[in-house]
Amino acid sequence: MKSPVTFRLNGSETAVFVDSGANLLDVLRRGCGDLSPKYGCGQGSCGACTVLIGGEPHVSCLVLAETVAGRSVETTGGLSNGPDLHPLQRAFIEGFAAQCGYCTPGMLMSAKALLDRNPSPTRSEVEEAISGNLCRCTGYEPIIDAILEAAKQRGAA
């Protein structure tokens, strides 16, 4: 059975029919065509599907899609303002903070939630903020550096 769900996706009103029991990740990817959140585990362990709901990070594979009705959902697909990249995106590019790129969208969402709340985090606060996002390529250090760099750039701007 399909039911209609309306929510804001990256600032735009979105209406989509969802299958009963569907998770938000599938609905974003298949229903809305936003392929930026990734499937990595379906059990909330890897964080590749992290999106912001009401500004707070959630693992979208464990969110029952219909529970986001009326709420605001943000994904990496909406992180840049057209060609203008978000400071996090620029810092990830310059700091070599992605290798295969599969964990990157989730990593960026966790980092954005942190910086929106805490514009100048410490290193350990950054580590804590991305502790639910697994990366198998980088060893995390360049990612942590990039998030700290983005905070610095945002502070300077």
């Binding site: 392929l35 930026s36 499937y39 890897c46 992180l79 990830f92 599969y102 969208p105 697994l134 198998r136």
Partner: protein, 637 residues
């Protein structure tokens, strides 16, 4: 980045005008990564996409008495249920694409299962849930068989047969031995002269690559009779070749798109998703996705294989290691995949970066009822390096020597002869040890601090290939018949002697000149050579190993380039230099069983092969029964 470039070291061996190293480079794919727009295989949308789930073995080892999928086929949303009989060429081995090893692994098991999670049926349905429910509805009647999960248990006479293609539970090397041999010098005599014998056993468990993107593929029909396959593979041409072979279709019909891989680390080379997805696509005419969930990735995905190594060193009081023997076991799991190759890779790495004049090793690729293992970052090297370096520390303690100094004393120097009969070049272990000592404030003796990779190498016995004792122990089947111990020279087999200085550079064993000097094959690595210098006749019919050797008839060019015996080595046995072409291309006495309904595609190919000149440098395709004529391309044999 805190990299430090030691430009003082080996300054005369390179130019220092780097224009890439040491400077930041923006990755070409990173804009897609940070905007979420990089297209991984699952980021392609298809209308009417079907989903595939597999019925998997709950047992380590069991005979399949019967499979009943009738209830599953009637369930809502189920489009097709595929079994091994639906696969045109169900049995494959990954390295058959380079003619190494025999086909031993079914895409979908039909008669028996060899590990927990082995796929038996593939259910194609309109949703993942419908496919899962149908999987539950399939009834498989199993007769559980005894299983073996330990490499050494598997080599014992009483162990159950894991993989019928290799009934001794070990991969067959060169049609002759149940292990890969390395013989260099005379370890037994050296052990008897050593002041200390230091032995150790080291083990590494299997490791799952755990990429964040699980393995998968989507196969979709094109309008021009082709199939487009989006895949997470790390080995696109393996995947194309395997799919062409197992589906018995021309690779020209397979349009493979990959390259954007969500982490691989070796775990995405096995090429199982592509043939299954493409088969389902052919069977249904619809786009089909076969994606592992995380649980499957962890349970079924081929890990880095477990390894066990035993090392025995003969050491002099001053710390010089004069002999080292290895016994290594690779846990291949139930099927070969890449483990046969990993064993050879590890053998080429022995005895580590040290100049040891007497080395012997027996390394086994062993079949057990565990998940088949495959590639992972440095597989074949990582575990034995761990073993070697742990053992170096143990040797250092045994002789009461500083562990870094022990390494410097025994390190390869330029000009030393390595155990695989290549001269050591561009050595840098000594300098690395010195840099580590310096960085950590570790005090080295004046001699160790002064040592250099560029001096003292190739002196005396360390610069030549020594007279080498060989043996014929561990012929295929012998261990399982008689319970032979796995260590080198552990039995009463025939000993042979290879004279000193039998350098590969003099070898014209295979007639044709290699493309590069480094590619010269070495006759002695094929195994035993008797006292009279006569190699054994391979047992049984010729198979892929022999036919994968280069065409043999020697050309004049080859003789000119590599004059036999120039350094006093023996002239090569005629059997090796002049094996007739008809022997090389002789097909199997018994072609492997085929799935019913498979077109008999192999016969013309085999016949054609016989008429082809064996001196042809490049040959087309693969000439073995059971191998698709559609495996494409020309390559050097």
């Amino acid at each position: 980045m805190n990299a430090e470039y030691r430009k003082d070291l080996f300054a005369d061996e390179r130019s220092d005008d780097f224009d890439i190293i040491g400077k930041p480079v923006i990755r070409q794919d990173i804009l897609g990564h940070v905007t979420g727009r990089s297209k991984f295989y699952d980021d392609h949308a298809f209308d009417g996409l079907l989903h595939m789930r597999c019925v998997r073995s709950p047992h380590h080892h069991a005979r399949i008495r019967s499979v009943d999928s009738s209830a599953a086929e009637r369930q809502g949303g189920v489009v097709r249920v595929l079994g091994g009989r639906d696969v045109p060429v169900n049995t494959n081995t990954l390295l058959s694409l380079i003619n190494f090893g025999r086909d031993d692994e079914p895409l979908l098991a039909t008669d028996k299962v060899g590990y927990v999670g082995q796929p038996i049926l593939a259910v194609v349905a309109t949703s993942v849930r419908a496919a899962q429910e149908a999987v539950d509805a399939v009834k498989v009647d199993y007769e559980e068989l005894p299983h073996v999960l330990d490499v050494e248990e598997a080599l014992k006479p009483e162990a159950p047969i894991v993989n019928e293609e290799y009934p001794n539970n070990s991969f067959d090397y060169f049609d002759t031995y149940d292990h890969q041999k390395l013989r260099f010098g005379d370890v037994e005599t050296a052990f008897s002269k050593a002041d200390h014998i230091v032995e150790g056993e080291y083990q590494m468990s299997p490791i799952e690559q755990a990429p964040i993107e699980t393995c998968g593929a989507i196969a979709a029909p094109e309008t021009n009779d082709r199939i487009t396959v989006h895949t997470s593979t790390q080995a696109l041409f393996f995947s194309v070749g395997v799919t062409a072979k197992q589906l018995d279709v021309s690779s020209a019909r397979l349009h493979f798109i990959g390259g954007t891989v969500g982490g691989g680390f070796g775990g995405k080379v096995d090429s199982h998703h592509e043939p299954l997805a493409a088969l389902a696509c052919l069977a249904t005419g619809k786009p089909v996705k076969y994606m592992w969930d995380r649980a499957e990735e962890m349970q079924v995905g081929g890990p880095r294989g477990g390894e066990r190594w035993r090392i025995k060193d003969g050491v002099m009081r001053d710390g010089r290691i004069i002999a080292r023997a290895f016994t290594g076991f690779f846990d291949a799991g139930a099927y070969t995949r890449l483990s046969s190759y990993a064993v050879q890779k590890s053998t080429g790495h022995l005895p580590g970066p040290y100049s040891i004049p007497n080395v012997a090793s027996n390394v086994y690729c062993v079949f057990t009822n565990r998940t088949p293992s495959t590639a992972m970052r440095g597989f074949g090297i990582t575990a034995v390096d761990f073993a070697i370096e742990r053992h170096m520390d143990k040797v250092a303690r045994a002789v009461g020597m500083d562990p870094i100094e022990l390494r410097i004393l025994n390190a390869y120097r330029d000009g030393d002869m390595k155990a695989h009969r290549r001269e050591a070049k561009n050595c840098a272990l000594i300098e690395s040890c010195q840099a580590v000592a310096q960085k950590t404030g570790w005090r080295l003796s004046a001699d160790a601090a002064r040592a250099s990779s560029k001096s003292g190498g190739g002196v005396g016995a360390l610069g030549v290939i020594p007279e080498t004792v060989t043996d014929d122990e561990g012929r295929i089947g012998e261990r399982r018949r008689s319970g032979l111990a796995p260590e080198p020279f552990s039995g009463q087999g025939t000993r042979g002697l290879l004279p000193e200085g039998h350098s590969s550079n003099n070898s014209s064993a295979f007639g044709n000149a290699p493309q590069r000097e480094d590619m010269e094959a070495e006759i002695e690595r094929l195994g035993f050579i008797g006292a009279a210098g006569v190699p054994p006749t391979p047992q049984g019919p010729m198979d892929e190993t022999a036919s994968s050797a280069r065409p043999i008839a020697p050309s004049e060019t080859a003789h000119t380039t590599h004059p036999a015996g120039a350094r006093g080595g023996p002239s090569l046995p005629a059997a090796y230099t002049q094996r007739p072409a008809s022997t090389i291309n002789q097909p199997f006495a018994q072609p492997p069983a085929q799935a019913p309904g498979t077109p008999a595609a192999q016969q013309p190919a085999a016949a054609e092969a016989e008429s082809e000149s064996a001196t042809t440098h490049f040959q087309r395709g693969v000439r073995r029964p059971g191998v698709s004529r559609f495996i494409s391309g020309s390559r050097r044999r």
